[in-house]
């Protein structure tokens, strides 16, 4: 099968998922309201906490505001969700094996559909609206913008590896995905720095969190975007996490894929 045909298949899968969500429930758009309100409240929080002039832990108020808006704009890319474990739980996984596509790839393609929709319907308008909220949405420099793109790609790689590891654990332990999803979402929100920059946490806590793989999924690209922190070191850490986590994700999948007979239904 040619690469072009494969890409076409995955593109169609992504498009079907995206249009399906809108077609199934227009109230899906309500989620964007949630995200907008979260940004507005977080901007208010930072303006309450941080001084207008000067830096706190190396971050100025303007940098933190940009961090918050951009973080929200790319949040779906940073917190990759494929719902693989849900497909096991519902038994839907059985039909996935019948499709002439790789399992990881088809779930990833389906994840990218709604993300593209979100970028179009929410992220772009949010970035365009940012100056009206008193926030500069541009990167610290052109170089920072380019390195952000590289780092964002690696953040997605680390995030996807973690997604498949969580799914593998859920399948191995045969747990209700609801419990594990809530746990995973809460841990990610607290440790990744997606909503609260890690530098603004108590210093001892923030330093520890910076070394965890969760930071590689959100804190790193956002810090690069606003021109904060040692860029090359942070990129190297992301590459290291991707190199460590992907083999683990693949191993977990290979060990647990046969369990679907007893797990699904």
């Amino acid at each position: 099968m040619g690469i072009v045909q494969s890409l076409r298949q995955y593109g169609k899968s992504a498009a079907m998922k995206a249009t399906g969500m809108i077609g199934d429930s227009p109230f899906y758009l309500f989620n964007y309201l949630l995200r907008l309100l979260r940004v507005l409240v977080l901007l208010t929080l930072w303006r309450t906490l941080l001084p207008t002039h000067g830096a706190t832990s190396g971050l100025t108020l303007a940098q933190v505001l940009t961090y918050t808006v951009v973080g929200e704009a790319v949040e779906q890319l940073l917190a990759c969700r494929t719902w693989l474990e849900d497909a096991f739980w519902s038994g839907d996984i059985a039909t996935r094996f019948l499709r002439p596509m790789g399992i990881f790839a088809q779930f990833t393609a389906e994840m990218l559909g709604p993300i593209a929709l979100g970028l179009l319907l929410f992220s772009l308008p949010l970035l365009a609206l940012a100056p009206l909220l008193g926030v500069n949405p541009l990167p610290a420099s052109i170089g920072a913008g380019l390195l952000f793109a590289v780092s964002l790609g690696m953040a997605v790689a680390v995030s996807l590896a973690m997604e498949y590891i969580f799914s593998g654990v859920a399948i191995a332990l045969k747990v209700d995905p609801y419990a594990l999803n809530s746990l995973r979402a809460a841990i990610w929100a607290a440790l990744s720095g997606a909503f609260l920059p890690l530098a603004l946490l108590p210093p001892s806590v923030g330093r520890v969190f910076e070394w965890l793989p969760f930071a590689a999924t959100a804190s790193t690209p956002l810090k690069i975007y606003i021109g904060s922190g040692p860029t090359l070191f942070m990129l190297a850490m992301q590459a290291l996490w991707a190199a460590l986590l992907w083999p683990l994700a693949i191993w977990l999948w290979q060990r647990n894929r046969e369990r679907m007979v007893s797990y699904g239904g």
């Binding site: 199934d24 409240v41 208010t44 747990v175 419990a179 929100a189 607290a190 909503f195």
Partner: protein, 283 residues
């Protein structure tokens, strides 16, 4: 005489049903060691990490704006308790009422030999699921209370907590009633509304601009879930009626929710559910 009997019979029946649902809830949770351990641990971690970010920020900055560290922790604990008490009484998709309506499950409630309100008030009772939410909330409130300079009245705390819970459940029913009109489209609307309320309730709204703050106490009454009642309880709002703001909001919202739900039920009585095909699948 008959009315008197009914009045005494209802509370007894509610207590009996709560006892039945407590046993069922415990049986579900303890069906095997694996599920029990994973549910309990994941719930505790989930609920602690949900407020961890704000706790860290409050620690780092010794509070949030005009809120001291103890006041912020009190508010976070209060917010966690609102979630916990709501999960205690309205679990199993009662809080997500749009799912029950949208999935055509109102029939399951209507065929029971008791009033609908009693079913809704009792069959979501799930103490085992609520404990991991209540415990961190109680710990935070207790930790903050012994450090606060302003004493918190226990009856006022209980009244505010009940009112906040009513605000939450009423808001859920208000939006959830949309599922009577659009069962498929609005089936999951309460997931978004609850997520919206849960995420935003832990932030003090002092710094919010007029329009945003107005929106967060009217269209999305998240302010009544922690910020407004805590300001009153902690003596930060010194107006004469400060303690009554949340109960008044609860009263207004519960009236609106009752009207919306009853109107929806009238539609349901005519159309019923069209979600299930003859061979049992939901379309």
């Amino acid at each position: 005489m008959a009315a008197e009997t009914r009045l005494t019979a209802f509370p007894v029946r509610i207590l009996r049903l709560w006892w039945v649902y407590t046993r069922l809830n415990l049986l579900t949770l303890t069906r095997d060691l694996n599920s029990f351990v994973i549910w309990t641990i994941s719930d505790i971690i989930t609920n602690v990490t949900a407020v961890m970010g704000m706790l860290f920020l409050a620690t780092r900055f010794q509070g949030i704006g005009v809120w001291s560290l103890a006041q912020t922790v009190f508010m976070l604990g209060y917010a966690a308790l609102v979630d916990g008490v709501s999960a205690l009484f309205f679990n199993y998709n009662v809080l997500y009422i749009s799912r029950r309506i949208g999935r055509g499950q109102m029939d399951h409630l209507l065929i029971q030999p008791q009033p609908l309100w009693m079913s809704l008030l009792t069959e979501g009772f799930a103490p085992a699921y609520a404990v991991p939410m209540l415990v961190p909330g109680f710990i935070m409130v207790w930790w903050a209370s012994v450090r606060l300079t302003h004493p918190v009245s226990l009856p006022a705390f209980a009244l505010s907590l009940t009112a906040s819970m009513i605000v939450l459940i009423s808001y859920q029913f208000l939006w959830g009633s949309l599922a009577f009109a659009a069962p498929r489209a609005a089936e999951e609307i309460n997931t978004s509304t609850l997520e919206l309320m849960s995420q935003l309730k832990q932030y003090p709204l002092n710094g919010a601009g007029g329009l945003l703050r107005f929106g967060l106490v009217t269209a999305l009454p998240v302010g009544f879930l922690a910020w407004i009642p805590c300001r009153a309880l902690l003596g930060m709002d010194t107006s004469a009626l400060s303690l009554w703001k949340t109960p008044c909001a609860a009263l207004v919202l519960s009236l609106l929710a009752t009207i919306a739900f009853r109107k929806g039920m009238q539609t349901y009585a005519k159309t019923g559910s069209q979600r299930y095909s003859g061979f049992g699948h939901r379309n």
